[in-house]
Structures are given as structure tokens and as C-alpha cells.
Amino acid sequence: MLAYVIRRLWQFVPTLLGVMALVFLLFNWIGGDPAYLLAGKIPDPERIENIRRQLGVDQPWYLQFWIFMKQVATADFGVSWATNERVSAIFTTRLGPSLTVLVPMLVISTVLAMAAAMLVAYWRGSLTDRAIMIGCTVGQSISILVYILVFQYVLAYRWGWFPVQGWGSGLAQNLLFYGALPILVGVVVSLAPDIRLYRSFFLEEVSQDYVRTARAKGMSEPRVMWVHVLRNAAIPVVTNVMTQLPGLLVGAFLIERFFSIPGIGREVILAVERSDFPVIKAVTVYVAIATMILNLLADLIYKAVDPRVELK
């Protein structure tokens, strides 16, 4: 077990180097000279020279890469080009609002989707099954933008059930008042693909031998589903949720943008709009690290709940 973890952590090294090389290539080579971006509308040669020296762009590429590696290791990416805020401060202040919306959203949508998927798998092949599946396909085919626009317009602007947008300071206020509609939209959007995916997990389990055995010894159908099938189908669900998490941190950017939630995703969009390279670089590298760690954790949990799984 320990040997496995160490080997996996060791494998992080080339991947992380690759991610850094990719980011470096994108921003330092294809991205062009940042001094021209920073110097403003009327580039003054002296000022450009100054900025270049400050950023280290006048160094050869291997020294620049070394600077970048030091930045990653010390978690110090300097200041944002757009706002002069420290990049590390941006991270720590934006993470809270993101998680306030993400965690309830993820929990609610997972529970609802599992319940729906179990029912649909129980009625597999029936008209209900087909109707819900087609409903999910149609629901999935509507852009997330439309869900946000229509929910915000109808529920908040027209009917006034929720605030249109905004963010407060207290956790309870944020969660129940400002966060309610974003969470609702997030749940609605993720329900359709989740039900489809989890249904396949349940169907996989329903056709297993142990289900036939349980039925053969006279176990009631609800008990088969709730005790035996649910436990086994929950394993891939958990790993799926864990591996989704880092992507969601960024993927929720549309929701954060429309509802003015000061989270990581909105920060990424702002950074892309302003060509704020330090912020994008930092987000990319750290989200990649988070992805790798969560993938490892997902594998370990998989092993913990299902002893048949062999880690190799």
C-alpha cells in the first residue's frame, strides 16, 4: 500500500514537469512578449526594457523556466498584472465562495441523481425508463447558458424568489440567500448527465451473479436494490465525484460569473479577459496538482471500499 502511494507520488513528477512545460510553452513562447501587453497603449522603449528586466523575460529560456519552477515550488507567483493583488491572496480569498456553492451543489445533485438512477435501473426497459432517458438527453442538449439565463430571468428577476445576483459576508447568508439559486441551477444542469452515467453503473451491478443469488434465496426486491446493489454501485459514483471536483472548481465559472460570486472560476474568466498571465498560470498548475492528488485519493478509496481491487 505504502509502496503504491510512493510510486504514484513519484509518477507525479514527470506529469507535473510536463504540465509546467506546457504552461511555460504557451505563455512564454506563444503568448509573446508580456512587456508589450503591460506597457499599455503607447509603448515607451525604456519602460518596456524595465518591465522585461522585472519579469525576467530578458533572460535565456532555461533561466526563465527555472524562475517558473521556483514560483511553483514556493507558491509565489508574484502579483496580478491587472490588479496588483498577490496571486496567493487571490487564491485564498476566492476559494471559500467557490466551495460554498460547489459542495452543497455536488452533494444534492449526487444524492438526487443516485436516487433517480436507482429507480430508472429498477424499471429498466420500461416506458418510464425510456421517457426519463430521452428527457435527460434533451435536457443535456440545452446549453448551460440557457439554463442560467432563463432561471435568473424567471425565478429571480420576474418572480423575485431569489436575489438576481450578489454575495455577502456571512456563510449562512451566502449559502441560503445568495447561494440558493446558483446551487439550484448547478443541480439542475448536472442532474441529466449524472442520471445517465449512474444508471449505467446500476445496470452493471443488476446483472451480476450476486443479485441473482440474493433473489434466488428469496430476498425482497427493495432489499436487493437498497442493500446489495446500492453499496456496489456507490463505489464508481464516489470515484466519479472525486475526479470531477477540480474540473468543477473551474467549470462553475459560468454560474459564478452570472451570479457575481467572487470564486475561482470567475477569477479565471476575468484573468483570460485581461490577459492576466500570472493568475492563469497559477490556476492551471495548482488545479493540475489538485487533480492528480484527488485521482490518487479516489483510487485509494476505491481500494478501501472494494478489497477485490488490486492497485498496480
Binding site: 506529469t15 446549453s143 473551474v250 487533480t291
Partner: protein, 349 residues
């Protein structure tokens, strides 16, 4: 193609049927899948006609009054215009608050001059699916948007699946160092969440345009195909027919692309279909955020972007047109993908 498929069952006893004819006959039996295919084909025809300039060629012409509501009053008689134009145009937020607009008189005069000038041609009071802010026909915009989104989806998916197939074939067939190298690239690309990678590249390139969107999506989206194709090649390379091909002197390249590729092409085809859907959705989001197609191109994403502010005025038809056009295509494409998978690989059912 269909006469061949229907004629085949009669002769099935004499000659064994190939994968593709079998798959085709399974597909025609699947009614949902076949109907979806018909819808997809319809969209492709619309796309081609639009690209050739046969329809919606003059989408940018301002044919109607500003925010012309949907309806079939058709090109206008002067009475209808004078009746509708004043009610539609001067709806400003200021008047709602009860404060008189100090510039109202001046604006009304300018507006009268403008509509008079435009009305000298034919400014329709209503359009089939309504009009946008400049009085452009939403139906024509939706058609043009279909062209843009479909071209981006199809070409980017083609590029991504081509890359994934070539990389996967190399990694799976050659193994060893080549495999290690491609697996490393794969782990790097999958460590970064897909949308973040797309946005990061959009930030660096910092230029809009259809080609840019295609390149961004195509160059980042190959990982899923790579994983599946590599696994298929690993399974196939030790099979008898590949060894036989080796024995008759087929080169590595021939074995990879002439012998194995047709046998894994069902995986590639399903991936292609899946990625078209994924990329159409991504393009809409990118264009909506303003990192997508250029300002002189209309896409569903840019239509939704305009609809965002229109909705506050109660103008819903552009939103509805873009949403329905996209939802019908994506639903049909997804159902077709499912049917295609079932038809090509019946074991999965």
C-alpha cells in the same frame, strides 16, 4: 445505400454480410436512431446550403424594424408600420420610472428620420422568428449560426479524433518508448481540466476567429479517443490476422492503418460523433464569453450573448431560436450516437 441494405436479407444465405451492412440494417431497424439520423442529415443540408450562399446569404441586412416581433404579417404595408413602430421602439427604462426623458423629443425626431430612411426600402413590422436589435431576421441568423457551429463542431471533432487515432495507433502498436512518450503527454493533458486548458489557450492566442476555435478544440480534445484507440491496438496487434499480415510482408504502417484500423474504426466513429456534440457545446460557451468566433460571424453562442440583454426588455425570440436550433441538433446527434454504438457493437446492448 438503403436499397442494398433492404435487398441483402434475401441473399443473406449465400454471402456473409460485412460489419457495415449489418450495422446499417440494425440502424434502420432502430426507429429513434434513424429519425435522429434524418434530423442530422437535414442540419448538414442546411449547413451546406448556407455555406454555399443559397440561404441566409444576406443575414446581416436589416430587413425589419428593431426588435420586430415574430409573426407572419410579412413585408409591410405602411399602415402596419406606423401602428407598430412607435409602440415597439420607444420602450426605454427611463420612462418606466416615471421620469420624463429630456431628450425624448430629439430622439423621437432622429428615430423618425432613421425609420423613414430605412422604411424607404421594406422594413417589415414582423418577421417569421422575429428580429434583433438592428432588425436583422432571427431565422436567417439562426441558419447562419447553424452553419458556424456545425462547421466548428465537425472540423474540430475531425481534427481531435484524427490526432487521437494516430497517437493511439502509434502508442498501442509500437509500445515501449513511443507508448511511454504518448502516455506522458496524455497524463499532462488530462491533469488540466478540459475547460481550463481551452481558456488558457484562448487567453494566450488572444485572437478570435472560427479557425482559432477549431484549433483550440481540436488540439486539446484528442485524449479520450487516444485512450480507447490505444487499448484497441494493444488488443489487436497480437491477433492472428495481424501476424498473418506480417507473414505476407506487410510493413508496420500497412498493418497499423490497412489491417487494424478498419477493425477498430467503430470506436473511432462513435468518438467522432460524441466529440461533435461536445465541441458544439464548447463553441457556444466560448463564443458567448467572447473568446470564440469573430464579431462579424454569427454563431449560437453570440446569439445567446445578445439575448442576455434582450431578455431584460422581454425580447425572448432570439434566445428561443438559438436554444431550439441547438437543442434539436444536439439531441438528435446524441441519440444518433447511441444508436450508432448499438448498431456497431451489439454486445453492449
Amino acid at each position: 445505400m438503403s436499397p442494398a441494405a433492404t435487398a441483402l436479407p434475401a441473399s443473406a444465405g449465400s454471402a456473409s454480410r460485412g460489419l457495415w451492412t449489418l450495422a446499417w440494417s440494425r440502424l434502420t431497424r432502430d426507429r429513434v436512431g434513424f429519425a435522429s439520423l434524418a434530423i442530422v442529415v437535414f442540419y448538414v443540408v442546411v449547413m451546406c446550403a448556407s455555406a454555399a450562399g443559397l440561404i441566409a446569404g444576406d443575414w446581416s441586412r436589416e430587413v425589419g424594424v428593431s426588435y420586430a416581433p415574430p409573426g407572419f404579417q410579412g413585408p409591410d404595408d405602411p399602415v402596419a408600420r406606423s401602428a407598430t413602430a412607435p409602440t415597439v421602439v420607444p420602450e426605454s427604462a427611463v420612462e418606466d420610472l416615471g421620469i420624463p426623458d429630456p431628450l425624448a423629443g430629439v430622439l423621437a425626431e432622429i428615430r423618425r428620420g432613421l425609420t423613414g430612411a430605412a422604411g424607404a426600402e421594406t422594413a417589415a413590422a414582423t418577421l417569421p422568428l422575429g428580429g434583433d436589435k438592428w432588425g436583422r431576421d432571427v431565422l436567417e441568423k439562426a441558419i447562419k449560426g447553424t452553419e458556424t457551429s456545425m462547421i466548428v463542431g465537425l472540423v474540430a471533432a475531425g481534427l481531435a479524433v484524427l490526432l487521437g487515432t494516430v497517437f493511439g495507433a502509434q502508442a498501442g502498436y509500437r509500445g515501449g518508448r513511443v507508448d511511454d512518450f504518448f502516455n506522458w503527454i496524455y497524463s499532462v493533458f488530462t491533469a488540466i481540466p478540459y475547460l481550463l486548458l481551452v481558456l488558457a489557450i484562448a487567453a494566450v492566442l488572444n485572437q478570435k476567429g472560427t479557425l482559432t476555435v477549431i484549433l483550440i478544440l481540436g488540439l486539446t480534445g484528442w485524449t479520450g479517443t487516444f485512450r480507447l484507440v490505444r487499448a484497441e491496438y494493444l488488443r489487436h496487434k497480437a491477433r492472428e490476422y495481424v501476424l498473418a499480415a506480417d507473414a505476407i510482408g506487410a510493413s508496420h504502417r500497412e498493418r497499423m492503418y490497412r489491417h487494424i484500423l478498419p477493425n477498430v474504426s467503430h470506436v473511432v466513429l462513435v468518438q467522432l460523433s460524441l466529440h461533435v456534440v461536445l465541441f458544439i457545446k464548447s463553441e457556444v460557451i466560448l463564443s458567448f464569453l467572447g473568446f470564440g468566433v469573430g464579431v462579424d460571424t454569427v454563431s449560437w453562442g453570440s446569439m445567446l450573448n445578445e439575448a442576455q440583454s434582450e431578455l431584460l426588455l422581454g425580447i425572448w425570440w432570439q434566445l428561443a431560436a438559438a436554444t431550439v436550433a441547438m437543442a434539436v441538433l444536439v439531441t438528435a446527434f446524441s441519440l444518433f450516437t447511441d444508436a450508432l454504438r448499438d448498431a456497431l457493437d451489439p454486445r453492449l446492448r
